[in-house]
């Protein structure tokens, strides 16, 4: 069965060109970039080239890019590293109620260590009001952290406006751009971002790679202590093949983004309007217009998310549900609840995230299968009107 993979927000396949770029560094070029000898220096150059590629993708300078093990580490570093470095200045951090767990949980951790966290509300589309950010700033505020786009519902936040406020108020600004870098234009300067998180495996690069952009002059503590890698800020032998692949993925994304985005908008809108048309009692989650080009998130009343995902999987379609019912907690998606959904609706949400390997036929497959599946599940749901 050909797989219809529509879970690109969870992770993307590695672009064959990325794999091609990585292979030499899994074989011949295995040196440690910190080594003085040629075997080490051969790979040092490759790491620095990749740094330039990631910098170019987000409009930063190469010496402001620090490679990490992924988006989670980048987010944790930005939040905790700033908190510890600035604890003499204040203890207040502003973020939103729809951030990724990596940010929310880092804030939770900090709140147990004496920091005060403001979780800003969002409107029913999941959008933050910059006014609210402005009002939340106090003399004790040391950091504002807002995601560029939401991973579940795709809503794009007004980060440029928020960055302007942060700059005016003299507060550091971190942007979690894990879902946008490589997919939409991201520029640390127009966003006034002091820190920005990127993850390699969300843009057709390898898993286990990520980066934190740290604007020159920004005070931040390191999470890890050790050797002098990454200019002493992030020790540990560099994941060279991963970094090289991440750099290649950044290069490809930068040059192909514009055309790809246009293509995705068409696929996305067709998928979303067909499903909403064909399936009664369904509603789009997230902002109808200001959303990621690859995200379709719909709630289907009376049915539960995981059973939707399973039934789609039986037909070779990979999607995901925001409902955390599949984890040990029975909490529905914190994002959908923040948008004002009742728990029952939140449990029945389904996310399709398109990617560059998505074709028209993939969309057709979903449009054909899902109405049948929803019907079947509703027939056995004790909540559906009889």
């Amino acid at each position: 069965m050909k797989l219809v993979y529509l879970d690109n927000a969870a992770t993307t396949p590695v672009d064959p060109r990325v794999k091609g770029a990585m292979l030499p560094y899994l074989e011949d070029h295995f040196g440690n970039p910190s080594s003085v000898h040629s075997a080490g220096q051969a790979v040092r150059h490759a790491v620095e080239e990749a740094r330039g590629s990631v910098a170019a993708l987000i409009g930063g300078r190469a010496d402001e890019i620090y490679f990490t093990s992924g988006g989670t580490e980048a987010d944790n570093w930005a939040l905790k590293g700033t908190a510890w470095a600035k604890s003499d200045k204040g203890n207040h951090i502003i973020t939103t109620s729809v951030e990724h767990h990596a940010v929310i949980e880092a804030c939770h951790y900090l709140s147990k260590h004496g920091f005060e966290i403001t979780l800003l509300p969002v409107d029913r589309y999941g959008m933050v009001d910059p006014e609210d950010v402005s009002k939340a700033v106090t003399p004790k505020t040391i950091l504002i952290s807002v995601m560029h786009a939401n991973n579940e519902i795709g809503t794009i936040q007004p980060v440029a406006e928020i960055g302007k406020i942060a700059r005016e108020r003299g507060v550091l600004f971190h942007v979690d751009a894990v879902q946008t870098a490589g997919h939409l234009p991201v520029n640390v300067n127009s966003l006034n971002a002091d820190m920005l998180s990127v993850s390699g495996h969300k843009l057709y690069g390898p898993k286990g790679t990520g980066a934190l952009y740290i604007r020159k002059g920004t005070r931040i503590d390191s999470l890890l202590s050790g050797g002098s890698q990454e200019r002493g800020k992030r020790p540990g032998t560099e994941n060279v093949p991963g970094i090289v692949g991440f750099g290649k993925a950044a290069d490809i994304a930068r040059t192909e983004m514009a055309a790809e985005t246009e293509r995705l908008y068409l696929l996305r809108d067709r998928l979303s309007s067909e499903l909403l048309d064909r399936i009664p009692d369904s509603q789009l989650n997230g902002h109808p217009a200001v959303r990621l080009p690859n995200n379709v998130n719909i709630s289907f009343s009376y049915v539960e998310g995981e059973s939707l995902v399973l039934n789609l999987d039986f037909e070779g379609i990979c999607a995901s549900t925001g409902s955390a019912c599949s984890s040990s907690s029975l909490e529905p998606s914190h994002v959908l609840l923040a948008c004002g959904k009742i728990a029952e609706e939140a449990h029945g949400s389904l996310r399709f995230s398109l990617g560059k390997f998505t074709r028209d036929s993939d969309i057709d497959a979903v449009i054909e299968a899902l109405p049948r599946i929803v019907k079947k599940l509703r027939a056995m749901s004790p909540l559906a009107p009889r």
Binding site: L3, S307, L330, A343, M380, S381, P382
Partner: protein, 143 residues
């Protein structure tokens, strides 16, 4: 990409999610049990038909995850032919085992099936004006 089966579910769980047995509301059942809470993402309704204290038929309706669906489906299979009192002995562990096991985080879903069955039997006794052979009613499924 190979297609090796979703979740950490056993093949039998998958089979029951794919083809749930005994779906649907029962016409004039002899006992009905409803447990769960839509807020928690799971609601289960279990119907039994009883003749001479023997459960001759069972069916269900479920809103919930794969494990919830599979355990509902399996429990309706398991009770058929059993006496109502034997049915009360069916534990959530037995249902999970009959399904070839459940992932640890999904064990709580099998509790729903056990509770729905107990409630249906309790309801059967109630309808007959009898006292069920257990002390107190099953507690509500709270989170």
């Amino acid at each position: 990409m190979t297609h090796s089966g979703p979740a950490a579910y056993s093949p039998l769980v998958i089979d029951h999610v794919k083809n749930p047995r005994n779906i649907g509301e029962m016409d004039r059942p002899d006992g009905v049990g409803r447990v769960g809470n839509p807020v928690c993402g799971d609601v289960m309704e279990l119907y039994i038909r009883v003749k001479d204290r023997i459960i001759t038929d069972a069916s269900f309706k479920t809103f919930g995850c794969g494990a919830a669906i599979a355990t509902s489906s399996m429990v309706t299979e398991m009770v058929k032919g059993k006496t109502v009192d034997e049915a009360l002995e069916i534990s959530n562990k037995a249902v999970a085992e009959a399904l070839g096991g459940l992932p640890p985080v999904k064990m709580h879903c099998s509790v729903l099936a056990e509770e729905a069955l107990k409630k249906a039997v309790e309801n059967y006794y109630e309808r007959r004006g009898e006292k069920p052979p257990f002390g107190t009613a099953v507690k509500e499924h709270h989170h």
